[in-house]
Symmetry: C2
Subunit: 491 residues, 2 copies
């Protein structure tokens, strides 16, 4: 079975070229509760009286109860998970969110917060009949300080819309994801989304300046200050970054937007072996340090399959490994000079066998496609398992002989099989997570834990840390109404 | 009284030029409990039997009980606070810390964790007879991954030692502080120290990859993974970053070290007014984006006083404001060219009246001294109040007509008075904090809350956030033994 590991690519739709690539079968997925054999927790079920209450505090049109209206909110992006919610609520402001949660907490009604529903671990769809709290209507940009780069907006703003908005003001969002055309900034914050700009602009714990979130009991926690430095008391916002809506629901985000780079340059290099790639990474960090925005590697087989299947040109010959380096800088000539100097130096040293550097958008696109695009298998009726794990770069090939990976230690593994079976999953998942765990890696680099991984979290968290997680959950959501069945393993 | 506001400088001993500048009087400060009228909480007092227990788990020489031995650990760096501890413990490993805390928690003995004791808000010295838990002997570097830049070390490592260690391997620490020759990395983490490299390398919530900490009951929480991406469950490490030892004691830190910049360049410019400085900051972020490592401003009066009192040369003429820009980059020629182009462009636009750019270490030192050094007043027998606050850059001059400030929105305010009086403090502190609060600023940019500011924390945290802080404290340290009288205001 592990032959399918040859299909290992970074599952990112860079530049939205393959936005349409999803699981193609239109059949409804099996209910998650049946597929994964989950037992419903003793929450109350939503009654007419509850729906009427929600209609009274929102408006009729923002309370969906028709089965056909509700269905899309029950199914996740990769059509792996399917919940059984009967109600979708679309609040327009924090106060409405607060009222919904206060009521639901008192009535013991479970809630599934939902942003763009682009998650890959089933975190954003209900498992049973949780009320879907959808943020699509909380999409206002509140303020942008063009001098400091501090953007404040509501949780339901779509990442790409924010990026377009700040780009017009000479800034960019500090994160970029394949799903940017759909995902919400609140979801990005709740899942600590990493994505493509991490090497250059750091993670969301560093970029997010402030958070407004609502606790399970409806209390609004306002940590929305938009300053880079604020050292007053506990740094509460981090409780809501990456906790996937289980400790509170993010309603507003303040985030630091870096300056739009004036120049983007891409180098595409052939390399002899993995050891040389590690040396090259170290050298690139030293020679290109401040402009290095991406360092990605792919093996021969991945690239050749892409070249064949997508009929793309390979700008250089056949080599055992390929490295793509991207730079973001403020001076095109300086950046191209740095990258060309780097290429000359490392061709002389032998770390690079052959390579090319370009600032032409069309040529850059070709290089991106070679490294990032899905292979042909994803365009047909196959089902795929998606994993995102992290290892220290030096350990990357200890686990998988062939990978497409990046300078942040992230490996994305897609395994295709004709159809989902429990047997495949039960063989595959422990294998992957155990191997990653042995190398002290993380079983989730960026997709989070969600619904699909709680029973594997012990591979990445020690028992004391897990206990503290449970204590925090008990403290902040004692009735457990927020995104149940997710993140935390059952006792 | 507010005439003393003319003395407003960034209180940073850059390059250790003024390492010796401290409050010069050698008289012992008054006990903090008397000075600030604090009531002792009902902890038990340390008995012989407790001391003997500590001697049994550590060794005799690592349990200080002689008054003269203990005294230095009772007094803070600026000699403002003085505790009454009778015992100092110097553990050598996490297990010892765990045993000490477990025992102290059961016996209801209060603990004051202490790193390099360079804090400015009294957070690192006892108030009453708390046991001092000093980390000076936990100073081992555990590992450095030269490819990823991940450094793992014990909490008691001195920042400068770490910086020297990683510099030999072509890396730097992501933070730099005036106190770097004394402060501990564990203290930096616990206080979320900001410092001089924040504009370029971000804050510690972004740089710290992992934390090992011990809870009040002795439980070791291991979140020490050294990966840039780890999205498995709650991001617990952030609970210990910036909570000043009140939620747990940091014992080990994993931190990301950026590559050592190959070139450092400094520009020193004369500017007409504050509005132009804001425009210049925006322009610098755009033109110098990726290499900009510092942007500091000072007014005419500050610079002229420094020139006169320290007999330093001013490399340019007299102007209403001065701006110092520092760049860190990988190519000296490119950086100098960028900075010179910036200078030419902005002299043409009129934002800069006059300026100079240099990469010569001696000339750079002169420019640093002009902006960073203490004025003469601090070198004599005066007492000073130190404040570090943050405002969005656009608001900086709304509060103080004359400031030395920086691109991260941080303003440092030093007020000198002949001697401490409660009257001065009671006039000064509410004034400063209220003004900062009105502009939605933070009352502590980087020094933390510590002992001296809990009763002002409401200026920066709303009541729900404060309540959540209290809930977290109750959860993680139900007996309140960890660093009592600090951070959290009394009920």
């Amino acid at each position: 079975m592990f032959k399918s590991f040859t299909l290992i690519v970074r599952c990112v739709n860079r530049h939205n070229v393959y936005e349409h690539v999803r699981f193609a079968s239109q059949a409804l997925p099996q209910f998650s509760s049946e597929k994964y054999n989950v037992k419903r927790k003793p929450f109350n079920t939503v009654e007419i009286v509850d729906v009427n209450y929600f209609k009274s505090i929102l408006s009729e049109d923002r309370v969906l109860t028709e089965e056909s209206d509700v269905q899309p909110y029950n199914i996740d992006w990769i059509k792996n998970c399917r919940g059984q919610s009967k109600v979708v609520l679309k609040p327009k402001c924090t106060e409405e969110v607060s009222n919904i949660l206060k009521y639901s907490n008192e009535k013991r009604l479970a809630i599934c917060p939902q942003g763009g529903n682009t998650g890959l671990v089933g975190g954003s769809v209900p498992v049973f009949d949780e009320i879907v709290l959808n943020f699509v209507l909380m999409n206002k940009i509140i303020s942008l300080d063009e001098i400091s780069g501090a953007l404040i907006c509501e949780a339901g703003c779509i990442l790409e819309n924010l990026d377009n908005y700040v780009r017009e003001r000479n800034l960019i969002m500090p994160l970029d994801l394949g799903a940017k055309g759909t995902c919400h900034i609140g979801g990005n914050a709740s899942t600590n989304a990493g994505g493509l700009r991490l090497l250059r602009y750091g993670n969301l714990h560093g970029s997010i300046l402030g958070i407004e979130a609502v606790k399970a009991d409806g209390t609004v926690i306002d940590c929305l200050r938009a300053m880079k430095k604020d050292n007053t008391g506990y740094h509460l916002k981090h409780l809501f970054i990456g906790s996937e809506g289980t400790l509170g629901v993010v309603t507003k985000v303040a985030i630091h937007c870096p300056v739009l780079p004036k120049a983007v340059t891409v180098g595409f290099f052939g390399v002899k072996n993995f050891e040389n790639i590690l040396q090259l990474y170290k050298s690139a960090k030293s020679s290109l340090g401040e402009i290095l925005s991406a360092f990605e590697m792919a093996d021969f087989h991945s690239i050749i399959s892409t070249v064949k299947n997508l009929k793309l040109p390979n700008p250089i010959s056949a080599y055992p490994f390929y490295v793509l380096i991207e730079t973001h800088g403020s001076d095109e000539n300086h950046d191209a000079e740095k990258l060309n100097n780097f290429l000359s130096k490392e061709m002389e040293s032998g770390l690079i066998i052959d390579g090319t550097v370009t600032s032409e958008p069309a040529k850059m696109q070709d290089a991106y496609k070679l490294v990032y695009l899905f292979l042909h298998d994803f365009r047909h009726d196959t089902l795929f398992f998606k994993y995102s794990n992290t290892l220290c770069p030096g350990h990357l090939t200890e686990i998988f002989p062939r990978v497409v990976s990046s300078g942040d230690g992230n490996i994305h593994i897609n395994v295709t099989v004709p159809q989902y079976t429990k047997q495949v999953a039960s063989l595959l998942e422990p294998y992957i997570f155990e191997e990653v765990s042995k190398l002290n890696g993380s079983i989730s680099a960026e997709h989070g834990i969600g619904f699909r991984k709680p029973h594997y979290i012990h591979y990445s968290k020690d028992p004391s840390a897990l206990q503290l997680m449970k204590d925090l959950k008990q403290l902040m959501d004692p009735n457990g109404i927020l995104n149940p069945y997710k993140v935390l393993p059952e006792q």
